[in-house]
Amino acid sequence: MAIISRGFSGRRSAGEVKLPPGQYLTTDFPVLSAGPTPRISLDRWEFTIDDGTNVMQRWDWNSFRDLPRETITVDLHCVTRWSKLGTSWEGVSFDTLLANVKTDLPFAMIHSYGDYTTNLPLKDLLSKQAWIAFKYDGTDLAPEHGGPARLLVPHLYLWKSAKWVKGLTLMKDDKPGFWEGLGYHIYGDPWREQRYSEE
């Protein structure tokens, strides 16, 4: 039972916008990262897909940018409770990236420059649910927002949309990534308010 806060009325969202539970709207684009922003030069950038043993796919920046690109407009929901609606991105879908990968392994670990990791089921990367994005709002993605390229998986809390991505490892079993190992939810669905590991 919630305690009623004497004299508190709050500021409701004006429109009919439906947000996940416990979220509030912002028009800012706050930055949250556990450490310094890595600076990655494009001529050393690469993205690989492996199964823990063998590299199955590898792109450098040029071959990655030659892949079919999509424009994506999505809502973002951060576990720190802000939501931002209608953000506009350009990126390559994982349907494209995984098109030639044959696997029975059901889970993925995303790796980033700067050693960040995050885990998710492989099926959450498919069916136009996830992209590697390289433009935000029409311009090259800024380093503090994950540039040159970041994961964009907007149906999960934003920590899953790892910045500065460099690879994907397919896994037989689900394993916690960085924040998931520090008490955040293993899956992170904002509509079910899966913020912390005990929810």
Binding site: S5, S9, G10, Y196
Partner: protein, 253 residues
């Protein structure tokens, strides 16, 4: 590091406001007694939930300012945001004796454990001092011998939180070395004109990289980006720099 160790149980608890103290004209420290508080680690935060009579509620996270202790009492320091929904209530409306819903402690990364023995470099921008103050208080309340430095960047002297306590620490000459940087207005006769932190100021006021300090940087995003960049340029190991960013606006914008 095990997540559950520092996460605590994330159930909602009832806290009672037991004291209020203004830090500045826009920031207030709220001491809250939580009967079933499980204890915390310096650097962690709590979620505070306000609920209107019709059931509408809003939740925000606030860093814990107090050291871990056994008296079932925590302090948070809240900076009032002009367009905020929760912070105006917590800094202006809330009264001693009021009850608040809160949940935590939360967070297992931006934390300092008393068994860390390496030199510690704390760098705060504005209200980013709050979790770093918890770390300093934790250090002073424990038997730790870790060497500490705090570099506290402020818009102006009047914006400082915990003034008396920091001054006392400074005078006692305990093993926490304090230094300040002012970005808009300096105290009288301050040797350096108001400006943002640069490489020279940093090299004079932080541990040298060869001591391999762990650095905790907290403040507005642009401050954290700027300082973390300077630390790396000064040779700090990026793996030893932990950051916590407060929103997207701030004095260094």
């Amino acid at each position: 590091m095990a997540g559950t160790e520092v996460l605590g149980r994330v159930t909602w608890r009832t806290g009672k406001v037991v004291s209020l103290r203004d830090e500045t004209s826009t920031a207030r420290t709220i001491a809250i007694e939580v009967r079933d508080w499980p204890g915390h680690v310096a650097g962690q935060h709590v979620d505070v939930r306000l609920t209107a009579p019709d059931g509408y509620s809003a939740v925000r996270s606030y860093s814990i300012a107090s050291a871990p202790n056994s008296d079932r009492r925590i302090e948070i320091t809240v900076e009032r945001l002009e367009d905020g929904e929760v912070s105006p209530y917590l800094t202006q409306e809330v009264a001693i004796g009021d009850e608040l819903d809160l949940r935590g402690p939360i967070g297992g990364w931006f934390v300092w454990h008393v068994d860390q023995t390496e030199p510690i470099q704390l760098i705060a921008g504005g209200s980013g001092i709050v979790p770093l103050m918890a770390i300093i208080r934790s250090r002073l309340a424990s038997a730790s011998n870790a060497r500490f430095r705090l570099l506290y960047s402020l818009r102006e002297p009047a914006a400082a939180f915990y003034k008396d306590e920091l001054q006392a620490i400074s005078i006692r000459g305990e093993s926490v070395i304090l230094s300040y940087a002012f970005t808009r207005i300096t105290p009288k006769d301050w040797p350096r004109p108001a400006s943002r932190i640069d490489a020279a100021l940093l090299s004079e006021n932080v541990w040298p990289s060869h001591l391999s300090p762990t650095c905790y940087v907290c403040g507005p995003t642009s401050f954290v980006e700027h300082v973390a960049g300077l630390l790396i340029a000064a040779g700090m190991d990026r793996g030893r720099i932990r950051t916590e960013r407060f929103g997207s606006t701030g004095e260094h914008k």
